[in-house]
């Protein structure tokens, strides 16, 4: 088997055992990137010399007898919303074109400390606002299963890079589903950790009370290894949880669901859901039951208003966060001809530098926070947020985890929803409640929809700091289904 088809755990073991060098592993992935990027467009930035330099450093550390972790020498694709001192950081926006940050994000720093080799920065919807990666200022990323379809978003470059074997691992951020939805539609594993479990320091902010960094991988164990590598308390993030990282690697190894109480969310299904998605979902629930889990239906009535609440809360926070792009301290400046005021230059720069979705959300957020509308919109959305957290709390008194389809449909064609914001927003229907309540959730592949042969994801939601439960259930599903399929779901994807 070629190096690019191996798991991250296998690659780490090969490098640790000296059977293959980190440089060879990196080169194999750089060659793959060169071969398929013209079709996929997962990366915004790849720098061969920087990548090989990191790999040589790992080989030198191993040669010096240093005890390296399980992912040392494993390549990773890094979402271009985390700051990196040695690569540009754009957040998919023209307003940050060519920007070189003066410091590394905590997630970036921890990847480096674990000896992961960063291959480059991946494409995303501008400022992580979107569900298709079509909102990138640098062109859309394509789904390796069908190049005419979206790879999900906002972390679509990261999902496509892993699904196209350009990297065994990648990072993402999940504000309303931006890790789980892209994982589901590309047939890979994506995890949104508990809010505060992974650091936001150096993550370009979209909606600060929701943004959560998390891992992508082609299997559950690799996702757990990466989750463990970059998570944990960070004094630089005031909302970071000062508690041990849940034992996610142990849970991924265990994969035992006997006696586990699983709740099926009653509100997620029916109208608007693709038949093939629901068919795979229900089969997977039956599978879990056959593995010894106790399945019950659970009602979470407030989840039906999660989407409107989210589209008030997230744009409100974004309108405030994106005020920092003022054309004064970094990034683009337009129209500074010596006659215009700072305010005029600011308005011209923001009009030229932000794309349509970012402008829509800034205006929507400014509206929701305006005096006279605040109570009816932002204030009311915050109350719905409380009700959603209470629904989760009540549900987790009855069951250990909740399950649903990750997305209502499989990957849609590029362009189909590009000018219909409300249709686009529906892609995050099932993932948003978890962001509003701050708990943990994973998406794991559960089959192909009959209508279109495209991947379907199962979402597993767990309580705050119950991240290990997500991995336990996902590992059980993966083990049982791969036994049936005779390999990973991704092995059924057409070759690029």
């Amino acid at each position: 088997m070629s190096l690019i088809h191996k798991s991250a755990a296998e690659l780490g073991a090969l490098v640790a055992g000296g059977e293959v060098s980190a440089v060879e592993v990196a080169q194999a992935h750089l060659d793959r990137i060169a071969a398929v990027e013209p079709q996929v467009n997962a990366f915004l930035h790849v720098d061969v010399e920087t990548t090989l330099g990191q790999a040589r450093a790992v080989d030198a550390r191993r040669a010096a007898g240093e005890d390296l972790g399980p992912l040392a020498g494993v390549p990773i694709a890094h979402k271009d919303v985390f700051t990196t001192v040695d690569m540009p950081t754009t957040a998919g926006s023209k307003i940050l074109e060519g920007y070189r940050p003066p410091y590394d994000a905590t997630v970036t720093r921890r990847l480096r400390e674990a000896g992961l080799v960063i291959l480059g920065k991946t494409n995303l919807d501008e400022f992580a606002m979107g569900s298709s990666t079509e909102n990138s200022a640098y062109g859309p990323t394509r789904n390796p299963w069908d190049l005419n379809r979206i790879p999900g978003g906002s972390s679509g470059g990261s999902s496509a890079a892993v699904a196209a074997y350009e990297a065994p691992l990648s990072t993402g951020t999940d504000t309303g589903g931006s890790i789980r939805q892209p994982a589901a539609v590309t047939g890979i594993v994506g995890m949104k950790p508990t809010y505060g479990g992974s650091s936001r320091y150096g993550l370009i902010a979209f909606a600060s009370s929701l943004d959560t960094p998390g891992p992508f991988a082609r299997n559950v164990m690799d996702a757990a290894l990466l989750h463990e590598a970059f998570s944990g308390h960070d004094a630089m993030d005031s909302t970071s949880i000062d508690a041990p990282v849940p034992s996610v690697v142990e849970a991924a190894r265990n994969g035992d669901v006997a006696g586990l109480r699983i709740g099926v969310v009653k509100e997620f299904g029916g109208d608007g859901y693709q038949a093939g998605v629901l068919a795979r979902f229900h089969e997977t629930v039956e599978l879990l039951e056959s593995l010894g889990a106790k399945v019950v239906e659970v009602s979470c009535p407030s989840f039906t208003t999660a989407l409107p609440a989210y589209y008030l809360i997230a744009p409100s926070e974004a309108s405030s966060n994106l005020a920092r792009f003022d054309a004064m301290r970094y990034g683009l400046r337009v129209g500074d001809d010596g006659t215009r005021s700072a305010e005029e230059v600011m308005a011209l720069t923001r009009a030229a530098g932000f794309g349509p979705e970012v402008k829509r959300r800034i205006i929507l957020g400014t509206y929701a926070l305006s005096s006279g509308y605040y109570d009816a919109y932002y204030g009311q959305a915050q109350k719905v947020r409380t009700l959603i957290a209470r629904d989760f709390e009540a549900a987790f008194h009855q069951v250990d985890v909740l399950v649903s389809p990750t997305t209502p449909t499989t990957a849609f064609p590029i362009g189909e929803r590009a000018d219909d914001p409300m249709a686009m927003y529906l892609a995050d229907l099932c993932t948003i409640p978890t962001n509003l309540a701050g708990n943990a959730a994973i998406s794991v592949p559960c089959g192909l929809a009959d209508e279109d042969g495209l991947p379907v994801g199962l979402q597993v939601m767990a309580p705050v700091l119950g991240d290990d439960r997500c991995y336990r259930v996902a590992a059980a599903v993966e083990r049982a289904l791969e036994g049936r399929w005779g390999g990973s779901l991704l092995s059924k994807a057409p070759a690029l």
């Binding site: 410091y103 301290r329 309540a437």
Partner: protein, 99 residues
């Protein structure tokens, strides 16, 4: 009746420091009308006695020790600036001509 008018969108764009072209305003006004109509559904939820949540975690007043630690040098802080003068950010005029 529309949820938001074109004039309101123009006003919000000014508040947000976005110099939008007329065509953009037309386009956004129509789209925002649909979006606001949809998100207004939150008003249907009976929540008079429900406290609002701004955040998922019950954290308040997170402090760190008041210690001097290394931070960015002036050169690093200025490294992404559109214009620099005498070790400072150079910005367009911020006061009116008559001031």
């Amino acid at each position: 009746m529309s949820a938001i008018t074109r004039d309101e969108v123009a006003h919000l764009a000014r508040l947000s420091r976005l110099a939008l072209a007329d065509e953009e305003l037309d386009h956004f006004a129509a789209q925002l009308d649909v979006i606001i109509g949809a998100v207004a559904r939150v008003a249907e939820v009976a929540a008079d006695d429900i406290p609002p949540s701004s955040h998922a975690l019950p954290l308040t007043n997170v402090y760190r020790p008041d210690e001097v630690r290394p931070s960015l040098t002036p050169d690093q802080a200025l490294s992404g600036a559109p214009a620099v003068e005498d070790g400072r950010f150079r910005v367009p005029r911020i006061l009116g001509e008559e001031a």
